[in-house]
């Protein structure tokens, strides 16, 4: 006679694996839903998703005007730094603040269609990547205007993007599950992201920090941000960053999978 936990995990594991397999097979559906989400937002606007790039340009411009002299940085350097860093931060922050709603917001779909739970995670991930791609347009525009030549190291951004996406998806699954059960997780994560923005070298440069270096050294977000930002700045990320980010991604993935497995039975009831 199998134990109760054995039964629970056996069913949950089987379901979770099947969910993953079907969700990957139906990835085009996730992409379609993502496209629908985004175009829905910009439907009757003149610029459509190009508003994303415009908004990014305005933000970078504002920060450069106000903070470059405060930080003692030249406008050229700071503008490129921000144009590279903000999209990276926006990508990471999206996972943290938007994923808690992933299942809750899709309740109608989940009830009516045989669509895997994880499709809603991939759908949002693809959406974030789309926004990221549009925000990076501002970086290329800034590079063109300030005559900064592109470097081959920028190609490192692709594997970096993969690692960040894996980490994001992993933590995203956990957040989506917990966010289904506890509805105040999403506002809590918004506050957390706001604070994390200040504590992470997005607006300021890590080199500038003379005291309280622990803020950077023990901040996991620092490594993930650097991993993706360095290539965009034309620099190959150091080995240490790859290793730590890879570890974070693996940890996030395992956490996400575990949380999904353990809550699969109750998940529908929480919606």
């Amino acid at each position: 006679m199998r134990t109760l936990w054995g039964d629970v995990l056996a069913t949950a594991l089987g379901l979770a694996v099947r969910d993953l397999a079907v969700s990957l097979k139906r990835l085009p559906l996730a992409a379609d839903l993502a496209s629908q989400d985004i175009h829905g937002k910009y439907k009757r606007t003149v610029l459509g998703p190009l508003w994303i790039a415009l908004g990014q340009a305005a933000t970078v411009g504002g920060f450069v005007l106000v903070f470059s002299s405060l930080f003692g940085l030249s406008v050229d350097v700071y503008a490129i730094y921000l144009a590279a860093g903000f999209p990276v931060w926006a990508l990471i922050s999206s996972y943290l603040t938007d994923m808690p709603n992933a299942f809750v917001a899709s309740k109608g779909f989940i009830e009516s269609y045989e669509v895997p739970w994880l499709t809603h995670i991939w759908r949002r991930s693809i959406g974030y990547l789309f926004v990221f791609a549009h925000q990076v347009i501002t970086l290329f525009a800034a590079m063109a205007i300030l005559r900064v030549p592109p470097k081959i190291e920028m190609l490192y951004a692709l594997p970096a993007l993969l690692i960040v996406s894996v980490a994001g998806a992993g933590i995203g699954i956990a957040l989506a599950v917990i966010g289904a059960r506890y509805r105040d997780l999403q506002p809590a994560m918004s506050i957390f992201a706001g604070v994390a923005f200040l504590f992470s070298p997005v607006m300021w440069r890590a080199e500038q920090l003379q005291v309280n270096e622990w803020v950077v050294q023990y901040n996991p977000l620092y490594y993930v941000i650097s991993l993706l930002r360095d290539p965009l700045l034309g620099v190959a990320p150091p080995a240490q960053t790859w290793v730590i980010s890879g570890g974070i991604a693996a940890g996030a993935l395992i956490t996400g999978v575990l949380v999904f497995l353990l809550s699969r039975r109750r998940l529908y009831h929480w919606l």
């Binding site: 629908q36 009830e111 045989e114 059960r181 809590a188 929480w270």
Partner: protein, 256 residues
Amino acid sequence: MVRLDLSDVCVRYPIYATSRQRSILGFAANRASFGRLARDAGRIPVVNALNGVTFSLQQGDRLALVGRNGSGKTTMLKLCSGLILPDSGEIEVEGARACIINPGAGLDHDKTGFENVEMMGRLLGISRVGRRLLADDVADFTELGDFLNLPVRTYSAGMTIRLLFAVATSVESDILIVDEVIGAGDAHFVEKAAKRIRATFARAKILVLATHSGEIASQLCNQMLWLDAGRKVMLGEPRTVWDAYINQRPQLEAVA
């Protein structure tokens, strides 16, 4: 081989009534204070939706589910369609499942009728060829004409229901799980709709249908399950069970 077997299945689910019960801070406060603070967060009421239900369906079986509101019919449908897992007992399913429980979900009011049909087709896993056929089928059945090229926002309630109904009844699957037959639209449409429902149900190898109509049940189904408070009261021939059921509910019309 298609089958749906339930064996002594129980389903319980929690009801989150107060905001503290849905709050991670409430949960933390309750646990940290050993139940002193945020008491309602520690005591979450549980509904015993299904209590030990057993039945066995094979190819060709059409089961009607009847019972009062709150007797567990929708929970039973969601269990059969795989949304909910049993807390005890076993459910065994062989064959592809599809459900018609909430056809309005996934409807995007800013998209046109055709665009919505396309999206729902994708969600239902219909191939590109199938979706083209679906679009023609929906246009033909709903008779909405040019409205299908306008956003659903512009439709009347009846038109929207016709569209949803058309898509929902195009679902093909080994096992079909349906929550109440939608009844809406003018007389001409109701006649067409009835024929279409019959055709849809006939295609399924196993059908589980929750209904409040004894007539529909006896016309479309070969078995009836009467649920009350999550328990099986009676399982058998539709007319027999329905007669027993309405004797407890005299305000429902008898089947002729």
